[in-house]
Symmetry: C2
Subunit: 675 residues, 2 copies
Amino acid sequence: MATETGTSPAPTTHQPDGAEDGLLVAATRRGTQTPVAPTRGALRPLGTDEVRLTGGFWAERQRINAVGIIPHADAWEERVGWIDNFRAAVDGDILTTRTGREFADSDVYKLLEAMAWEHGRTGQASLDARIREVAALIGRVQEEDGYLHTLYGREGQAPRYSDLEWGHELYCYGHLIQAAVARLRTGVHDELVDIALRAADHVCHEFGQDGRDAVCGHPEIEPALVELYRATGERRYLDQARLFVQRRGHRTLKDIEFSRSYFQDDVPVREADVMVGHAVRALYLASGAIDVAVEDADRDFLAHLTAQFSRTLARRTYITGGMGSHHQDEAFGDDYELPPDRAYAETCAGIGSVMVAWRLALATGDLSWGDVVERALFNVVAASPSPEGTAFFYTNPLHKRVPGAEADPDVVSPRAFAQLRAPWFEVSCCPTNVARTFAQLGSYVATATDDGIQLHQLASATIETVLETGAVTLEVATSYPDSGEVTITVVRAPAGETEIAVRVPRWAHGAAVLDGERVDGDVARVRRTFADGDVVVLEVPLVPRVSRPDPRIDAVRGCVAIERGPLVMCAESIDLDGDDVAGLTVDPTSVREDAGTVRLTGTVARPAPEPTAGRVWPYGSAADRGGDAGDVRTVAVDLTPYHAWAQRGPSTMRVWLPADVDQAPHREEVAPHHA
Amino acid sequence: MATETGTSPAPTTHQPDGAEDGLLVAATRRGTQTPVAPTRGALRPLGTDEVRLTGGFWAERQRINAVGIIPHADAWEERVGWIDNFRAAVDGDILTTRTGREFADSDVYKLLEAMAWEHGRTGQASLDARIREVAALIGRVQEEDGYLHTLYGREGQAPRYSDLEWGHELYCYGHLIQAAVARLRTGVHDELVDIALRAADHVCHEFGQDGRDAVCGHPEIEPALVELYRATGERRYLDQARLFVQRRGHRTLKDIEFSRSYFQDDVPVREADVMVGHAVRALYLASGAIDVAVEDADRDFLAHLTAQFSRTLARRTYITGGMGSHHQDEAFGDDYELPPDRAYAETCAGIGSVMVAWRLALATGDLSWGDVVERALFNVVAASPSPEGTAFFYTNPLHKRVPGAEADPDVVSPRAFAQLRAPWFEVSCCPTNVARTFAQLGSYVATATDDGIQLHQLASATIETVLETGAVTLEVATSYPDSGEVTITVVRAPAGETEIAVRVPRWAHGAAVLDGERVDGDVARVRRTFADGDVVVLEVPLVPRVSRPDPRIDAVRGCVAIERGPLVMCAESIDLDGDDVAGLTVDPTSVREDAGTVRLTGTVARPAPEPTAGRVWPYGSAADRGGDAGDVRTVAVDLTPYHAWAQRGPSTMRVWLPADVDQAPHREEVAPHHA
């Protein structure tokens, strides 16, 4: 689908040395249509040119993205004037007309990145034309020395880099560079690429070893610069990224109300044991740090970052995979501080978590990182857009006590919460982030080694690549997550002995079956010399599961969550005949699946009528009490996949369901599990 | 102690009409040393000139206030330059030198108010001199037409009233006026009073019926103007307060990220069923609205406001009496959204709750509002200052997962949380609010009717006033809340039949004993013709109680709180031999008191060591689990009164203690109680 010749460097030579984590293994190919293409690592990512989603859940998201999200975002960026900001900068009236927040430019770049991947995937000419049109405008705004931002540096504006805490100039370059990488990786070297290269060179000059000893308040340029190095072979970009990662945590940013941990500038990256502060910032920083560790073959640093993310998953992550417990600073909370009602779980943090987990999978070869990717994709990223792709959740709470208001499809939401999916936000990072992620989806599905293909996500797809053992084409067919059967047909078999490895989700350990044989462990593997037409069948049981929290997660004590396959389920009041989920208590032993619907039984207590005299005090002993506790009725509740909640109008909703006390486990029964 | 003649109007005539709520009963006296002196209502407040605290818990707080908080606040307001702002305004260099937030002026006024009450209470001449000194400075800053603010209106500053959402100009007048009222009520008419009168007249002109159709982003001027009316008899101040209350909720303020509910401008006051938005704003507004309802003898409005506050207590209040569940906007959450770890429960909101409950007690004669006052005073307001009165909590969480850092006694805290008590804050509303409240404490203890004295708070005090039945002096002796015995000696008995009524806290209903006889209900009453030297003894049982939450308060499901008398208790890690409160599970049946210490037994689980390989995922079924759940040991835990927590250095802490599951009640056992 590429229309021009790319500038990607020639593939480097494969240098196997048997290192287990693969860090000393240089990649045999790179430059395919993938956003993350390390020069070394255990697994070689396959891009959207090698993995095409052919149907099912994720292909449907790509369709929504193409017909809904991308055109919707383009229209809104014109409507709110964020593209016009560039026009105004050209026309000279930016001082009086600029709209949007400090980082409005970045959303234009993220839209271009989404369009670039989508163009690479589909070859749609109108996307290419639109990218060139907007890039031409951006090019006219870029200054002689490569500086580029619509809010700073002009006469009458604040000076360049005068507000590194909140100015987001380097953050914006990061997204610009990622858009350029998308062009290069899809075989296009156009003006957008030249603009990004000039900006990157400017950054290296301005913030290099002898330049400003500073970092950006919002990490993002770090992974972008590493990827630009990977796409161009220019080591100065990697060096600059490394410098930014090394500088972070040394308190060059000002202290703020949320403290320097907000932008991870409190503790050096190599010393931070668990993620802190603003969740998206922390996850983008970790992505860039992993990229640096991989390129430097720095095993200690990679191990540190792996442990940091593992601790974050163990202590600071919602069952949906969502991250960020605080609304105030969009931040991680303390360990086990995971309130379901105040879950921030920003859509962009879900994407950040996918970015981190995917990088770790590529570096280490551990397919079980795909569990993290899968959980966040199904239960955070997929929850954001409406089925039409024209409205979005910014935050993804696990409990909604009051039905959110339907958002006006013509009004920009000033708030990241309190409403149902909204068409656009004053801070509108999420819609374009979803757009670029959906356009890239094929690139998170499979990887290759010299003699094997690894399937990380269970999705219908055609996988076509060349291994050392020969060219291979696989056809994966599944209706996952509706059913758990995955059929892999070897349409074109490589000549040599080859392994097909498929991630088995942790919840299916010991229950999955490969060609009739029980799978023990994280991965189902078949190694043989395949013949054309061979079929491998994996069955992953999708019976609904009752999940209990670590007892230290105080906010959901005494509750259970129901999961089915990769989907976290929730109860919505619309399924309770007008009652509120606040009164629901469930019998965890009653969970069953019934014609595709997950259902359980319980009771709903209706609140007692307000007393006409006296006051209610909600705390006390049995002896203090009096009055009527309200009606209690038995109910059967149909659960909804969390990602599909609030698609039938305002409802109260909860993922964590109070369990009948008789069924509650003893403390020692609910300890966390290791694997 | 007053040194000049006050301007208080002559006492109005008593006009009994038998109305139960007392709203049509005009007060027989007013102008005593009390911050709230309605012209009508069921009960007549006794001021600090009539009620002197003579010992015990609250007298100790008054001592701390005198030797610690007030001089500390004065020194810090000089140190951070908030008083210098007025000097700079006089000197003409305010544009370049002003420090502090928009509302910094208000903290100077609140300090003056605290000093005024303290001067009235003690007659300390240096306080009077200091008030006059600062007032002289303020007077030079006030403009010809009465306008007064250090941040607005000068050439080079934003225009007056150009930012009603955040400018706080009217809020500052409110505190200025309350300081002036304190002067008038303590018998002093000085320059501060004249300044406040000019400011109030300016407000009536600028925002009157024909003026700007606007309200302040932070309610406060409403109760202040009513009180100024009460202190001066000038109806225009009442009219202006009524206008502000009526205008609120009609969306004259701009929409903001937190929505207009933040400043209660979303719904008219007469239609708002429960408190919403910023808690201090909501409580100050309710105080002013109650004042207007009382002065207007508007029974419907008073009933509405009473129900609004009752619902707020039933659904949106912590067991400590704390209000405000959100850090982000310092706001009330949804119904039953009461996370203990993220409790904001701002000290000032505790004071606001006292303000509202006290007004309702005076208007309605219902002594049980004293329960609300008592809970907030003991468990929110008293928790804020250190024993020396030189450091303060701004927020009052019920669960601290990570030991807070000790604050540097020489550094202004940029944050309202994450530290232990801090000497001063960038937003430093709480210390001066505590100071004025402690100086006023005597005025919340007792009230009078024509033929009775009502004791609202159980505190050692001398009460001296004149009833229709004659002059009366009572000596109240108690070491409450250490012990529950309250001895009331009628030192001077009134001639006629008189009633002594004492509030019986709800938790002691049916267990309190008055002169050997069981008390049934909210109030212990003795009515007779007393003789000098008569003694009345009330015994309130203080056995530790196990309190359970309404089941809709999800965040503390499965937990119990231990209370003893008015004190909410907590567990601190310092009492767990180095273990964290995170691992604590208690046996609620084990609670006992032992030589004044409340103690219970339970277990502490130490976290399992981090796995060296693999990842921990904190959700799952028993079947998913593996590994070691960690050591569990049996412990006896000494509990600490919540107000005294963090006085022995950093600790983790929790009020709500997970209860052994075997002991957990069934749902129907933990419904809220009515009374």
